[in-house]
Point group: C2
C-alpha cells in the first residue's frame, strides 16, 4: 500500500474527477447549492470573481461600440413561438409563469391565483423579446449597426445540474446586433468570438480552440455558431463562449426591417453572442489541483492574503503593525487596470487558516511571524506551486517583485494548461485507433479518456450521430485554422473536408 | 389669448403633470414600455445612467464592509410563507412559476407542461431565501456581522404601472445583514439610510427628508422602516430608499442562530435595505422642465455633447477636425472618480439634433461652426438654463472651466430642488387649514396640491387612516430631527408626539 501525500481535497482528480469537482467547489467558498432545485447561491468570493470577469468583458464590449440595455425577464409565449427552430430548442427547459398572485385556500394554504391570459416564459435567452425592440428602433440604414448587450439572469430548466457548469438559473451576458449586410454581421460574429477568446486566454489563462459548430450543435435558429472550446483536466471539452450569425431568421420572425440607402426595405442581418458564469466552472476545472482551485491573478478577487502569526499574545501588536504596514504599501501598487487587492486574515484558527486560502485559490499567501519580522522578511507561498513550497523573501524585495510574481503565476497557469491541451490532442486517421482512443483504459474511472482528436469528417450528420451513439463523442468544432487540409472521414472513409475536433464534452 | 413660449414637451408640467411625465420619458430616450405587461425596456441612455448610480452605490456599500453575492431568482412557496406578515404583504403581487416546460397540444399550440410539485415565486424581495443561506453561514458570533448585498431584478405584479416609478419588473439592490446585537443592527439600518441619502443628495442632486415610517407604512415583517422622502415638482412625495430593522422576525423564521461569546445560542438581529430604478423616476420628476429631463452631471451618461455645424460641404473637414481635437482634450480631463465623458453628434438632422440632446437632458451642449472656429470659440448651452440661453466661450477657457461649470450645474439643480421643497413645506396646526391645504384649488389639475405639511400626530392608526380616506394624504415619515417638539394632533386634537410629514405620495 502506497502512502498518499496529504492533499486538501479528497478524492483527488485521478481518483474521481467528477466528485473532485464537487469537493473543490465546496471547499472554494465560491458557491453552493441552494434549496431551489438546480439553482446556485454565488457566495461573496465567487461573486467577486464574477464581477472581475464582468468588468473586463464589459470594457472590451464597449471598446467595440457596444452599449448596454435591459429587456424584460418575461417573454410572452406568442413571441417565443415566432422562430420555429428557436422555440423547438428551448421548449423542453422553460420555467413558465402562469399566475400573478397567491391566495389562501382553506385546508391547502397558499395556492397560485389570478391566471394569466397568456403564459410568460422566464427568458432562457432574449432573441425574440430584444428583436421586438429592434424592430421599433430601426427605421433606416442610418440606425445600423445597432450594437446592444444585456447583463442578466436566464433560466433553463435542467434536470441534472452541477454548480457553474449547468444550473437552472445562471448569470450571463447576451449581445444582440443588427446590421445592413450579411458580411458586416458575419464580421461582428467573429469579432465577438475573438473578444471572448481574448478574455478567456489572457485573463482566465485558459487556452482555447476557435471554430464553428456543426449544424447539429448550432444555436436553435442560427445560420452559423462560432465557439471557443477549452480542455478540462479530465480531457473533456467545455464550450467557453459562443457567437451566432443569425442571418435574417430572427429579423424575419420579429420584422426587423430597414430602409436601405436605395430606399428599398430590407430585413436586417443579426447576431447574438453570450458567455456565462459557466466560465467559472471552466476556470476551476482547468487550473484546480488536489488542494483546491487556483484563481489566475488577473481575475482573482484578491491577489494576496497576509497571515499574521503570533503564538504569544505579547507578539500581537508588533506583528499586526508590520502586517498592516505591508498591506498599506501593497494596496498602493497598481495591478492590471486597478490596484492590487490584499486581504489580512488574523483569525486565530491555526493551520486551518492557511489551508482555507489554499482552497480558495488565492495566488499568494504571505505568512508573517516574529522571526520573519526580526529578519525583515516574509514567508511566501505561491498557489501555482505545491502547498509545501514556501520561500522567505526580504520584505522590500517582495514589495518590489510582487507584480512580477503575479505575472509569472498568470503565465505559468496558461502555459501549464496549454501543454496539457497540446499533450492530449492527437491527430488520428484510422477508425480503430479512433475508437480505441475514446475507450477508457480503466472501467473504474470512466471519465478519464483520451482527449481531443483531430480527425477528418465527411460533413454528414450520420457520421456525427454514429460517433455520438457509439462513443459519446461529438464534434466540438470545425477549427478556423484547419479547414483546408484534405483526407478521408474517420467514420465512413468518404472524402473529408478537413480535420475537426472530436471530444467528449460538458 | 396668451402666446405660449415654445417648449419641447407638451403638455407642460402645469398643464398636466402626469401626462408631462409620460411625454418626458418618451422624449428622453431613457426607457420605453415593453410588450410584456408592466415591464419596461431600459434603453442604452437610461441604462448608462443606471450603471453610474450602481457604480457609486456599490463603492459606497463596499466602503462600509458590504460584500456582493447572488441568490436564486425563485423562492419556493414554503420559504415565502415562513414570515406571516411578509407573505401577507406580497401575496397579492407575485409572479408564480408553475410549470417547467412547454408542450405542443393539437389545435392549441404550445401550452405549459411539467407541473412543479411546489410552485415557485419570482422574488419580489429576498429576505426568506437569503435568510436560508444566512442560517447555514452563521455558526458563532465570530461570523458576525454578516454584510451582504445583491444586485438584481425583482418582480412585483402591479396592476397600474408607470415607467421607472412602478413596474412589474425592476432592477434594484437589496442589502441583508445579520448582527449579534439589536443595537448594532439598528446602527447598520441607519448607516445604510445615510448612504442612500448621500447618494441621492450628492449625486442625484435630490434633497431628502430622513425619518422612520409609521407602523402602517412599514415593510411587511419589519420592526422599523427608515426612509428618505423627496418632493417631486407636483409636490407629491416619493420614497427614494428604505432601510429596515427586522429585529429577530426573519431570523426566527429562517432559524438564523449563533453561538454567543458566552456559548448560549441566540437569534441574530437582521436588517435589509434597498433602492431601485425608481430613483431614475425621482430624478426625472425633480429636475425635469418643460423641455424634458435634466440629468445631474455627476450621474450623466455623458457630460457634454459636441454638435459640429457645417452648412457647406467644404467646411466639413475643418469643423470635424476642430471638434475631434476638442473631444480628445475634454476626454483627457478627470471628472468625478473617472474621466469626463463626451459625445460627438455629427448627424445631419438640423435643429432636431440639438433638441434631441435637450430632451435627453445632457448637462452641456456645445455647437461648433465655421464662425466659432474662426473666433477660436464654442457656443455653449447649459441644460439647467433655458434652451435659448447660449453663450460664446473661447475654446481654451471652455476646456479650463468645464468641470467648474458642471459643478455649478450640479449645485444649481440641488439648490433649486431644495428651494422648491422648502417653499412647499409648511407647518400646520389647525385642522381646517390642513384640509384646505390638501384640497386642490383647481379641479382640472387635481394632481397639483399643497405640498409637504409638518403637523402633530397623536400616533394612532385611526387618525392616519382618516387623513388617508378623506384626503388621500399619508404620513410619509416621522423625521429624525423633529421628534421632540410637542403639540396637539392635527386630526383628533389629542396630544401629539412631534411633527410628522403628511403628503400625497407616489
Amino acid at each position: 500500500m502506497k502512502i498518499k501525500a496529504k492533499t486538501a481535497i479528497s478524492p483527488t482528480r485521478t481518483e474521481d474527477y467528477s466528485e473532485w469537482y464537487q469537493q473543490v467547489v465546496n471547499a472554494s467558498d465560491l458557491a453552493e447549492r441552494s434549496p431551489v432545485r438546480g439553482c446556485m447561491v454565488i457566495k461573496p468570493w465567487g461573486y467577486a470573481l464574477w464581477e472581475n470577469i464582468v468588468r473586463e468583458l464589459d470594457d472590451m464590449f464597449k471598446e467595440t461600440g457596444v452599449k448596454n440595455a435591459y429587456f424584460p425577464l418575461f417573454i410572452p409565449l406568442s413571441f417565443f413561438e415566432k422562430e420555429a427552430e428557436h422555440v423547438e430548442g428551448f421548449a423542453k427547459e422553460c420555467a413558465v409563469v402562469t399566475h400573478h398572485r397567491l391566495e389562501k385556500m382553506p385546508g391547502k394554504g397558499l395556492v397560485p391565483a389570478g391566471p394569466l391570459q397568456e403564459p410568460l416564459v422566464v427568458r432562457p435567452t432574449s432573441e425574440t423579446i430584444i428583436g421586438d425592440s429592434f424592430s421599433k428602433w430601426i427605421d433606416s440604414y442610418r440606425d445600423l449597426p445597432l450594437l446592444i448587450n444585456q447583463w442578466g439572469n436566464v433560466v433553463r430548466w435542467e434536470m441534472r445540474t452541477r454548480i457553474f457548469l449547468r444550473t437552472s438559473e445562471f448569470l450571463w451576458q447576451e449581445g444582440h446586433t443588427a446590421h445592413a449586410t450579411a458580411d458586416e454581421a458575419i464580421e461582428r460574429t467573429r469579432l465577438m468570438l475573438d473578444v471572448y477568446a481574448g478574455l478567456v486566454e489572457k485573463s482566465l489563462a485558459i487556452p482555447v480552440i476557435r471554430g464553428s459548430k456543426t449544424a447539429s450543435e448550432r444555436f436553435p435558429g442560427a445560420v452559423d455558431t462560432l465557439c471557443i472550446e477549452a480542455m478540462m483536466q479530465d480531457k473533456r471539452a467545455l464550450q467557453a463562449g459562443t457567437s451566432h450569425f443569425l442571418g435574417q431568421n430572427f429579423s424575419k420572425a420579429s420584422n426587423i426591417v430597414f430602409q436601405a440607402a436605395d430606399e428599398k426595405e430590407e430585413y436586417a442581418w443579426t447576431t447574438s453572442w453570450g458567455t456565462s458564469t459557466r466560465l467559472i466552472g471552466a476556470l476551476i476545472m482547468t487550473h484546480g489541483d488536489d488542494d483546491g482551485i487556483i484563481i489566475p491573478p488577473k481575475v482573482a478577487p484578491s491577489q494576496v492574503v497576509l497571515l499574521p502569526i503570533f503564538r504569544k499574545p505579547k507578539d500581537r501588536a508588533k506583528v499586526m503593525e508590520f502586517t498592516e504596514g505591508l498591506s498599506r504599501e501593497l494596496k498602493s501598487l497598481r495591478y492590471g487596470s486597478g490596484k492590487l487587492k490584499v486581504e489580512i486574515d488574523d483569525r486565530d484558527t491555526g493551520g486551518a487558516r492557511g489551508w482555507d486560502w489554499v482552497k480558495k485559490g488565492i495566488p499568494l499567501r504571505v505568512e508573517i511571524g516574529p522571526r520573519d519580522i526580526a529578519d525583515n522578511a516574509v514567508y511566501v507561498g505561491r498557489r501555482d506551486r505545491g502547498h509545501k513550497e514556501r520561500e522567505s523573501i526580504k520584505r522590500d524585495r517582495f514589495v518590489r517583485e510582487i507584480t512580477r510574481m503575479l505575472d509569472e503565476i498568470q503565465k505559468t497557469l496558461f502555459e501549464r494548461a496549454a501543454s496539457f491541451k497540446n499533450n492530449n490532442t492527437v491527430a488520428i486517421d484510422d477508425r480503430n485507433a479512433f475508437y480505441q482512443f475514446f475507450t477508457p483504459n480503466n472501467q473504474e474511472k470512466p471519465e478519464i479518456h483520451g482527449g481531443f482528436v483531430l480527425s477528418q469528417w465527411c460533413g454528414s450528420a450520420a457520421c456525427e450521430l454514429k460517433t455520438k451513439n457509439d462513443l459519446g463523442v461529438t464534434i466540438r468544432c470545425v477549427p478556423f485554422d484547419k479547414k483546408t487540409e484534405r483526407g478521408k472521414c474517420v467514420c465512413c472513409g468518404e472524402t473529408g473536408n478537413g480535420r475537426v475536433v472530436f471530444a467528449k464534452a460538458y
